[in-house]
Amino acid sequence: MRVTQGTFSFLPDFTDQQIHEQVQYCIDNGWAVSIEYTDDPHPRNTYWEMWGHPMFDNPDAAAVVYELNECRKVYGSYYIRIIAFDSSPGWESIRLSFIVNRPAEEPGFKLSRTEVKGRNIQYSITPYSSDKPQGSRYK
């Protein structure tokens, strides 16, 4: 099951050229661009691991694509996303976030229903991949 998170998530995966252009748009708006990765695709897993610092002073998107490819070399089987922070309101807020790398196989999520008081049902989802310990989830 294809994980859809963030912007453009219903489009086909971007090529490097397309990523370059999206990132350039962010940089031209004065946003700081950062690369993050994770092997836990749960939708409530908001804080992913950072790949280096957010890039505050690179005028060209080639730097981000370069770092992305470095990150792919190490975490090529993980989810990698690009995040753009806008600091103009006085705090860093996310303006744009999109997935740029995903595992070859995405096993999807398990939906479990728990009956609680008054025959109400509580739903929860668990990624099948998180049955395995962190670091050995995707090959």
């Binding site: 890039m55 002073d57 690179n58 005028p59 060209d60 998107a61 080639a62 730097a63 370069y66 770092e67």
Partner: protein, 304 residues
């Protein structure tokens, strides 16, 4: 349907107009600006013009589908201090931007300290940080030969060189590297780092300025600061240049700039000590020959 046809038409370009391209790219403006704003440097200007036309023709060939590999644009500028290497690099960045070979056209100037770290594991991130900053523009490495220190085999400079070479090769479309420094040291540097030599296509040499050119430069500098020479002070400046040139640590245009700065200091002192009553703008901007002749250079000393 119509769109497809139009696209087909657009793709089959059979002719290009070099003159039009030349005008449209704004390269002509930069070349004339280069001619007017820089005094002397004949061989440098010729080389830049040659490079510009090569790149322009390459772009035209690309349009006609005569695809050749993207040319290597990395350069080396060698010459004595104060011969305008940084200034020309700035112009070069702008030129490459207008020709469409770099995307942003900014110049990042660094020296060894910005690239090489202090302890193990510090160099690679530092060098990469600088390279990323320069992507889309031009990276200008001043006194590049200090990167290589053969006397210390554990020197981290070697690591920076390796990363540099790798990025120069793999990210050729993303940035242009210009190495700069003194002629003889650069030659030695290239000899011991053949990887650099083969990756650099354009070696441009910056000649020293002649006495007349230096005087012309002095006049331009003075004018840009809203001062002026009179006949005597111009003569004094010419003599100053003649003597200063023979002394050690002469740095061409930079020495002239320093001399003018000191002359301004003396002029201010002279005016302050002698003036009584109101004085006009012309008096305040006049550099007299005494302002120059008080220099230690004339009494056998050395101006730093």
């Amino acid at each position: 349907m119509e769109n497809e046809e139009m696209e087909k038409e657009a793709k089959t370009v059979t002719e290009v107009n070099l003159k039009e391209d030349f005008q449209a790219s704004g390269v002509a403006d930069i070349l004339t600006e280069l001619d007017n704003s820089l005094i002397g440097l004949k061989p440098v200007k010729t080389r830049i013009k040659e490079t510009a036309s090569l790149l322009l023709v390459d772009k035209a060939r690309e349009k006609l589908g005569l695809v050749n590999e993207s040319p290597t644009l990395h350069m080396s500028f060698s010459g004595n201090p104060g011969t305008g290497k940084t200034t020309v690099a700035l112009k070069m960045a702008n030129l490459l931007f207008r020709l469409g070979y770099v995307r942003k056209g900014h110049l990042v100037t660094v020296t060894r300290d910005d690239l090489v770290g202090q302890y193990i594991g510090h160099t690679a991130p530092k060098t990469k940080e600088v390279l990323k900053k320069a992507m889309g523009g031009v990276l200008f490495i001043d006194e590049a030969y200090y990167l290589y220190r053969p006397e210390n085999e554990r020197d981290y400079g070697q690591e920076a060189i390796e990363i540099l070479l790798q990025v120069m090769e793999n990210n050729r479309d993303d940035l242009v590297v210009i190495l700069a420094g003194y002629k003889d040291k650069m030659d030695k540097f290239f000899e011991s780092n053949p990887g650099f030599r083969s990756r650099i296509a354009h070696h441009i040499e910056f000649p020293d300025y002649s006495n007349n050119e230096l005087l012309e430069i002095a006049e331009v500098m003075v004018a840009s600061m809203n001062y002026e020479f009179n006949e005597e002070s111009k003569k004094a400046m010419a003599e100053y240049i003649k003597i200063r040139k023979k002394q050690p640590h002469f740095a061409n245009a930079r020495s002239i700039r320093n001399a003018i700065d000191r002359a301004r200091l003396r002029q201010a002192n002279r005016i302050f000590n002698n003036s009584e009553g109101p004085i006009g703008a012309s008096f305040l901007s006049q550099i007299e020959d005494v302002d120059i002749r008080q220099s230690r250079v004339f009494s056998g000393g050395i101006d730093k």
